[in-house]
């Protein structure tokens, strides 16, 4: 019997809300899928679309971006700027054939430890259903073999 596919997920989170939320999930001893690799950044406004592309290029099957709820940003409006950027970036990804389902966005506050755990579980399930991003992985593989000689 083959092993179920375990997606690699990269989560870019802001340090003031979602990271604190993840911390709360941990201290509350909530169990969530171990597929996620969390990368902490000062603010969602710091998350350049380049990060998302780079994560996919380095073999992530899905990317999660999460920050403070609107109005709660530590820097007042970093998340508003981020929201505009994501709106545009999502449509660009969709248009170039990188499915929107592979990049997810959410707001999770420092108090929402349980929301964090539930979200990680549900997106892991979603990405597992999607399976590996074969078209992109094929390209990655080509560059890797070229680099070995």
């Amino acid at each position: 019997m083959s092993e179920p596919f375990e997606p690699k997920i990269v989560a870019f989170v802001c340090t003031y809300c979602t990271y604190a939320g993840a911390d709360l999930a941990g201290t509350s001893r909530l169990k969530y899928a171990p597929n996620v690799r969390i990368i902490r950044l000062p603010c969602t406004g710091r998350i350049s679309p380049m990060f998302i592309l780079k994560a996919l290029q380095k073999g992530a099957d899905g990317v999660l971006v999460s920050g403070c709820h609107p109005g709660d940003c530590h820097f007042n409006h970093g998340n508003y700027h981020a929201r505009r950027r994501w709106t545009v970036f999502r449509s660009l990804l969709e248009f170039t054939g990188i499915p929107q389902d592979r990049v997810k966005f959410s707001w999770i506050s420092a108090a929402e430890g349980s929301k964090f755990a539930e979200l990680i579980n549900s997106v892991t399930e979603d990405f597992r259903k999607l399976g590996p991003f074969d078209q992109y992985k094929k390209l990655i593989k080509e560059t890797e073999t070229a680099a070995t000689f």
């Binding site: 679309p49 054939g97 560059t143």
Partner: protein
């Protein structure tokens, strides 16, 4: 007198009176249907000036050549409506002061050209507003519509094929009036955001990031697509971005120089249907 002759007289006057230090226009290119940029500093050079329906390049990018505008003197430049919009954007992004730019406006209708009245980019407000209106009701490009009908996998294959041709010459960047960064993200090697080899993987990143950086700034002049030596349909990506900012934020780039850049501003009630 033809539009070209009228403008020749006007340009000579501008140069001999010393109102502007340079006029940027067009002259004959290597083939009959091509024009190349012509930088005129003396009235004698004006004789070579050509202005006809083949003058399609957006010349506004030349204004940002290093140090060109730093002496505070004025420069006149031949611009179509899209070029005038790029002046507005560059002014809004503090790359130039629009009172240093004398606009020699013209428009192309088929094989005819007509002069546009006005001297500063701000004089063309009615024109940019009407072009905003026209863009809102513009039919979607058939190729673009065809792509949107596809599944993501098919679209990926389409772009994989297109981007596999990219040789990373960055002609699209050089030709674009909006790509003025002194140090482009692809020239950065610490960290290396975009692979320097022209493999499809890095080409994806480069072309996506290029289109993203032009979102809400592109005036759809088509310089990038014409510059591309391997005919990647770059215009489709830019068009998609313009559609997106129009739909989501009702933003049409370059309407006026007081317009806020769309990705450098926000509204508290921006739509967020996609956020979990």
């Amino acid at each position: 007198m033809s539009t070209q002759e009228t403008y020749k007289t006007k340009v000579k006057e501008l140069l001999s009176s010393g109102k502007v230090k340079m006029v940027i226009g067009y002259k004959a290119g290597t083939t009959a249907d091509r024009r190349r940029p012509h930088f005129m500093r003396t009235p004698e050079e004006v004789d070579q000036l050509v202005l006809d329906s083949a003058c399609i390049t957006n010349l506004s990018g030349y204004l940002l050549s290093e140090g060109l505008l730093s002496d505070g003197k004025e420069i006149a430049v031949f611009l179509k409506p899209d070029g005038i919009r790029s002046i507005n954007i560059l002014a809004a992004e503090a790359q130039l002061q629009s009172n240093q730019v004398v606009v020699l406006g013209f428009d192309i209708n088929g094989s005819e050209i007509s002069a546009l009245q006005g001297e500063r980019a701000s004089d063309f407000q009615a024109l940019t507003s009407s072009s905003n209106e026209a863009r809102l009701h513009k039919q979607q490009h058939p190729e673009s519509a065809r792509l949107e009908q596809m599944t993501p996998a098919e679209r990926f294959a389409y772009w994989e094929d297109a981007f596999s041709r990219c040789i990373k010459c960055y002609a699209c960047r050089q030709a674009c009036p909006m790509c003025y960064c002194r140090r482009c993200i692809v020239d950065n090697n610490q960290p290396q955001w975009v692979n320097t080899s022209s493999h499809t993987l890095g080409n994806f990143e480069w072309n996506i990031v290029r289109a993203f950086h032009l979102a809400g700034r592109c005036v759809e002049c088509g310089n990038c697509g014409r510059a591309c030596p391997v005919n990647i349909p770059l215009g489709l990506l830019n068009m998609k971005m313009t559609d997106e900012v129009l739909q989501s934020f009702n933003h049409y780039p370059g309407v006026s120089e007081t317009q806020e850049p769309v990705l450098a501003s926000f509204k508290k009630n921006d739509s967020e249907t996609f956020i979990l």
